[in-house]
């Protein structure tokens, strides 16, 4: 499976919502990063929804770091959705990933973006 069929983009309440699926790891992190940046080129606010991500390692974390940095550079607002008690949240909490960027649900993320 390629990274492409693991990414879906929709527009919800004025934000572009990027949903990732499956494992984001050393195997595909770079590709995921490129595809997300391409898919959200013109967005003013972006939600990266990790609810359907089943595994996230240090390469996946680096991918998230770079995405957040790139969106910030583009002056786009960004939120990352990772459900409480999920495996992704476990990894993010472990390294203290940007707490102000994190949301537990899509709704919480969209509200955080002022929608």
């Amino acid at each position: 499976m390629t990274a492409a069929n693991r990414i879906t983009v929709t527009v919800e309440r004025g934000s572009e919502v990027v949903r990732l699926h499956g494992d984001v790891d050393h195997v595909n992190a770079d590709q995921v990063e490129r595809e997300v940046l391409t898919a959200t080129r013109a967005a003013a606010s972006v939600v990266v929804d990790l609810s359907a991500v089943t595994f996230l390692d240090s390469a996946g974390l680096r991918c998230l770091d770079r995405l957040v940095a790139a969106f910030t550079k583009r002056q786009a607002q960004v939120r990352v959705v990772a459900p409480e008690d999920g495996v992704v949240r476990f990894t993010l909490d472990l390294i203290g990933f940007l707490p102000e960027t994190l949301a537990s649900t899509l709704d919480e993320a969209l509200r955080g973006l002022g929608h």
Binding site: D25, V27, D57, S58, L61, L94, I95
Partner: protein, 428 residues
Amino acid sequence: MPLAAPDGRPAVGLPLRARGAVIGTLLLAGDPAVPGRTDPEFLLDLADRAGLALDNARLAEQDREVARTLQRSLLASERPIDARFHVATVYRPAVKTLEVGGDWYDTFLTASGSVGLVVGDVVGRGIRAASAMGQLRSAVRALAKAQCGPATVLQYMDDFVATLEAGQMTTLAYAELALDTGRLRYACAGHPPPLLLPPDTSPRYLWEGRSGPLGTRAASRGRREAELTLPRGSRLLLYTDGLVERRGERIDQGFNRLAEVVTSRRETPLASLVEQVSDAMLAGEGGHDDTCLLALAFDGAPRYHCEVPAEVAALRPLRGELDDWLMRYKVPETERYAIVLACSEAVANAIEHGYLGNPVGRVRVGVTIDGNIVELRVSDSGQWRAPRPSADRGRGMALMGRLMDDLVVDCGEGTTVLMRRRLGRSAR
């Protein structure tokens, strides 16, 4: 009743009677020894006696069959399945007598993560002994669930035996092995001592924790138990006296023989061991007593091992396989994720930094679960380079350090990353 035999000789048919019913016919053929002197009364009496004897034999056989069935059903019950130990058993009935004895063995898991081991010997034979054995066996199981320890189990068994018609003077060895720690508590009520075969040292009999047979007042006042820690890889044998007793031999000679027989079969798989030990111990013996042997192997730590090519494509199948393996040993989901993630990070490190992505290299992964400690070892034979100050690699190492309790990196010929995690530690 005058008849003719198939060969035409004169014959007489007589009813075989027993307990008011005709159970068969006796046919006597041939010429009377003294012609005309065959007394019909004598023949009828003969037939009656034969009928009764046959019927008695039939009833006795029926009793034996009932006792055998009862005993078989008791000895063949389900065994606990657990990766941390396995058990093999043998029951050899006495050859000289047709009646079943009251020997039994039993193994079961208790709620506290221990396995209970029992070997007992009820005095007497036949249905009475077999049914008493069944009741005692169930009682030990029930009492073991209360987790009160071997000495207390024996005390309660004394009370229980007092309510039975049979079962007095039953001897019993009862042991509880905590599967995580190897702590063994045991007690023997007038029963031969268990034999411990540690992995590296000579066997020894467990002579502590002794008191008298069940149902004796003096013994019940002083029920004792003892404890020790079994090293992993140990074997423990419980048995009935029939295994070590031989006519014309002192009992200590029997004990010595058993120790020798077991020591010379250290490497024999457990299922073959119990058969071979029984064969060797009972060879040349008339089989005057039942024997029962239960052997437990406290298994070495479960091990997982694999070797993968140094390419990232190997990561996902490896993670799936390791997760399945950990699941088999009932490692909870969150902990599995942490261990699998730490392993994946270490293997990714070896691929990217040890071999610089050269897929000809191999990465070896070894995992053991010893008690509640999971140990993870990832090694490569890549060329050692001082770690470049790369943010990625730092993050991978930081993750591993937080996922596991210990993290040691050993660089020599290649690099070995050794990590440990204590299962059941509080969630972060």
